[in-house]
């Protein structure tokens, strides 16, 4: 698979993330970089939302279940005007609203407080059931990590969503093949991953999670079946866009980030 070069918007969003973590000198870099294209396509082309009225009932709900990827979500929420971009400079600050994991009580546009892995899909399922009761056509998107899919709660929710045939619910897995300790293959192999989702009652498509056009097309085709929840398995690269951080477990979570590291990240993004 030859990866297309990142376009300006993808690079700019990564630069925003680097600036955000520069102040705090910490953050889950790899986890955020692998999510950028998924989030930009969701927010640019797919989701229905109103930053002026974040709780508008008619909105689509998007939950970042792998909450440690929040730098990517914050970049998009700031970009769309949910909060002033200056807020990014207070990432992890005592009096800021943007913590190391997203807090629904603090950040406009964050649907659920996550960070403990394995909570997003059950919550998303409940929200989707509520839309059905309300006869509302709002859709629910839950973005999961692949390591996160080690959690039993993910599969309890998957089984339940399958039972309810909830076509308004979409699980998107950021399948970057890495977790915290090592590759998913080494820690807990998920394969045959697409078949697992299928067997739990999902209609599944796989896509290159950094190919903006392919993501658009995939999301446009939702729901993949009229009577099933959908799963998008997005093949991604952990740390995508900063070559030295790609698939490098040291960049899963970084603290004490130095000025030199920030410069190296910005330079690498320029070259991506």
């Amino acid at each position: 698979m030859t990866m297309p070069r990142l376009d300006d918007r993808s690079k700019d969003l990564r630069r925003v993330i680097v600036r955000t973590l520069h102040k705090a000198r910490r953050g889950h870099v790899g986890a955020a970089f692998s999510l950028i294209e998924i989030f930009r396509v969701l927010y640019d082309d797919v989701l229905r939302f109103n930053p002026q009225d974040p709780k508008w009932k008619g909105r689509d709900r998007c939950i970042l279940s792998k909450g440690h990827g929040c730098l990517a979500l914050y970049a998009l929420l700031a970009d769309k005007g949910y909060f002033p971009p200056a807020e990014l400079d207070r990432f992890c600050a005592a009096d800021g609203i943007l913590g190391g994991h997203p807090d629904a009580g603090k950040v406009p546009g964050v649907e659920a407080s996550t960070g403990a892995l394995g909570h997003g899909l059950p919550i998303g399922l409940g929200i989707a059931l509520a839309q059905r009761i309300a006869k509302r056509d709002s859709r629910v998107f839950v973005v999961l990590g692949d390591g996160e899919c080690n959690e039993g709660s993910v599969w309890e929710a998957a089984m339940c969503a399958g039972k309810h045939g909830l076509s308004s619910l979409t699980a998107i897995v950021d399948y970057n093949k890495h977790q915290s300790y090592a590759s998913t293959k080494e820690v807990q192999d998920l394969e045959p991953f697409a078949d697992k989702w299928r067997s739990f009652g999902f209609a599944v498509r796989e896509v290159d999670g950094h190919d903006v056009a392919a993501l658009r097309e995939t999301f446009k085709a939702l729901p993949f079946a009229g009577d099933k929840p959908s799963a998008v398995i997005a093949h991604t690269v952990k740390g995508k866009g900063a070559s030295f951080a790609e698939n490098n477990m040291k960049w899963h979570h970084k603290n004490k980030v130095t000025d030199q590291e920030v410069e190296a990240l910005l330079a690498a993004i320029g070259e991506a």
Binding site: R26, D103, T114, A116, G147, S180, Y181, A182
Partner: protein
Amino acid sequence: MRENCLKTVYELAKTDERIVFVGSDLGVGVLAEFKREMPDRFFMEGVAEQNLVGVSAGLAMEGHVVYLNTIATFLSRRCYEQVAVDLCLHNVNVRLIANGGGVVYAPLGPTHLATEDVAIMRALPNMTIVAPADAPEMIRFVRASVDHQGPIYIRVAKGHDPVVTTDTGPFVIGKAVPMRTGGEVLLVTTGVGLQVCLAAADKLAAEGVKAAVLHFPTIKPFDTAALHAHAEAAKAIVTVEEHTILGGLGGAAAEYLAETDLLASRRFKRVGIPDVFPSVYGDQNGMMRKYGISADAVAATAQSLLAARPKAARVAA
């Protein structure tokens, strides 16, 4: 402290074949030497904590001594039923090495804080809870933990905490450690609260008030004899913990003191996190300061107890 804890487990495992290490999805390179040298007793099994507790119970049922390591809140909140049933009910030898007890992970927000872990673990029969104050005490504890019967919850503080303990002999599970004795004030603490209390005692001394400091590296079983003996000499008792004031060290002390008559003529106060999800990020020290877990605030609390009028016995008509 965590590194020293794991390193000691590794050292012990080299000569004790009962010892097994189980991790979830820890940081890259954790215990690489254990994995290299004893691969059949090293497990890194993914982000599936409930499964890991059950697996550890099974290993222990077959005679292993299992050291299970991951983030504190995911060992306590998430696995509570597995801990209660698989570990405590079966009373098996699993040691939960709980990273980031208290508010170590302040910048990561409330999903990563372990501020009620002691309270909920205390409520489980057969559970032992320890919270060493620094790395040397942790090492002494780990050595003492191998042959202990039953599950243990090990609350691990941040790294590179200042060394404040002075003991060098074997760690005795279930024994409190008097760090300073005698005085009108008794500061009762555990874990890194010890740093705070020693500094608070210094501050009080400068203000002309003598304060005793009683450190509980074991919170359960609770050393009531030590508390009793030291409380008798004091006018004011303050408990200090990096934990909710509900049900932790302060709760244990309050329960005991209330059931003796020791509180009748003494002032008592719990210092810790109030009944909230902490609402700020920043860092551990900042969050502790916000909730009065600092030398200045503890000294002031003690002073205010001393200044309060003595209790008069009151009986409802």
